[in-house]
Symmetry: C2
Subunit: 256 residues, 2 copies
DNA sequence: CCAATAGTGTCTCTTAGACATTATCAT
DNA sequence: ATGATAATGTCTAAGAGACACTATTGG
């Protein structure tokens, strides 16, 4: 598409109000069998001392950056991993939604574009910059967050739960090579439900392009016995057909 | 959530760059068996004379409005319907995504929050304001659009096709009361595929909360014979269980 | 009458899920 | 040996889809 660059005569800057745009990242990972989210403790007003999602203003004019680039930058700053690093390269990033209610930031009108990141187990973050602390926090222990970040986190969790059903993104929580039980643990952790091991195994292998067999088996890990499970890599499928529908969703009573 | 209003000392306005935020609306409706989108012809630079999605700057400071409110306002301005009107009340509106690549607007850095609207058949729009023309356009005849609006429209269509599968939003394209063949026509139009009438009928009625029988039948309409179909209203379900999966989706060849 | 369409019945194939079974490993 | 777990097999119920059939309307 070529930008028809007409003259800017007749263009009135007062047609619009200037707004600050931030990017916030909901970075999810699995540690020790529990779903964790990356949080930072704010070192400046507003909400000083409260926990919040990592994020910051988009570099809009000088060194103008795209929105996904801003999200990667924020994630890299908070985790201490460099953007070109291999660890960050395996992170799945997608836009979650945009939050712009008036008054959500007491300073001024701020529109926040939220991103959702699925990451394999990453090292502990390091504090620095304008945050006094940063930590992977179990989602079940997350306190009330600054701004409307509690709502953003809730939306992110719901999105993540749904994404596991019809996309292969559960593999984004695993290392490059993983076993079917590893994958099952991801589903059980995110959905908060136990899955039948045998049925899960057969179903995953029946979905074309979900996982590919490496031919090798896992070494003796922290398991308590049993045969060595086979190692798989993520397949090339972008969508799961048929989907792995999560159980226990009874039909809700008809609303208004 | 209570906003902890610390003092604003130490707050440096240069921490952020001012950005203009717009809201663009992809309004879809069905007219004469074809899917239509509401387009406007631009009356001002940039892209003067080109077709574009209806949209405009968010009122951010004076009369600060929420993002969905801005979308409703733009839709009302372009369709000539008042926001409190009953016709607009039946329109389904949801956030589609946010587009903020540098250079997408040649004037300055603009972030656009795109909304997707599903509407029943609405009257023809009226031109006015800063648009020289406005029209419902069949999506198969849409020309190249201004800015990145062609991409936004493509994303909207893909979202709409998916939404029909697992939500009852096809009813948002129908009048308040509709027949099962009406509903089937919506699916066939949006998906671009013919569906088996008998199987579709049975499936729709088998999903709890999708439609409710009014007990009445349609009057003699533009049909070419056959029994009077029954009239239904939209049910209370928010999700379809089981979903109406669209046919013809063979497993794609595994990508990279 | 005839063509078109609404709505229902029937059959087959696939899949989900409950459960059983066998094989392999750590302790 | 014993217990835990990977992986596979079996059975049943439910849903998708192909197809046939009846009933009811407009022309």
């Amino acid at each position: 598409m070529d930008a028809g660059r007409e003259e800017l005569a007749g263009y009135d800057p007062r047609d619009y109000d200037p707004v600050a745009v931030t990017v916030d990242v909901v970075a999810l990972t699995i540690r020790g069998g529990a779903l964790h989210v990356l949080l930072v403790r704010r070192g400046h007003p507003p909400y000083t001392g409260m926990w919040a999602l990592p994020g910051g203003f988009v570099h809009a004019v000088r060194d103008a950056e795209d929105l996904p680039a801003a999200a990667v930058r924020e994630l890299a700053e908070e985790t201490g991993l460099s953007a070109g690093d291999g660890a960050l390269h395996r992170v799945h990033l997608e836009q979650l939604g945009t939050y712009g209610a008036p008054g959500r930031d007491p300073r001024m009108r701020v529109i926040s574009v939220a991103y959702l990141a699925f990451a394999p187990a990453l090292p502990d973050p390091r504090a620095g910059g304008d945050v006094s602390d940063a930590a992977w926090t179990p989602v079940r222990e997350v306190p009330e967050l600054a701004f409307d970040h509690s709502r953003i986190l809730a939306d992110a969790l719901e999105r993540a739960r749904g994404k596991l059903e019809y996309t292969p993104l559960a593999t984004a929580f695993c290392a490059a090579e993983f076993t079917i039980p590893d994958l099952r643990a991801v589903y059980e952790t995110v959905w908060g439900e136990e899955l039948h091991a045998g049925n899960f195994h057969r179903k995953v292998l029946s979905v074309p392009g979900f996982v590919v067999d490496t031919g090798r088996t896992a070494g003796p890990g922290g398991r308590r016995g049993g045969p060595r499970p086979r190692l798989y890599r993520a397949g090339g499928a972008a969508l799961l057909h048929p989907a792995l529908l999560r159980p226990g969703r009874e039909e809700p009573p008809p609303g208004p």
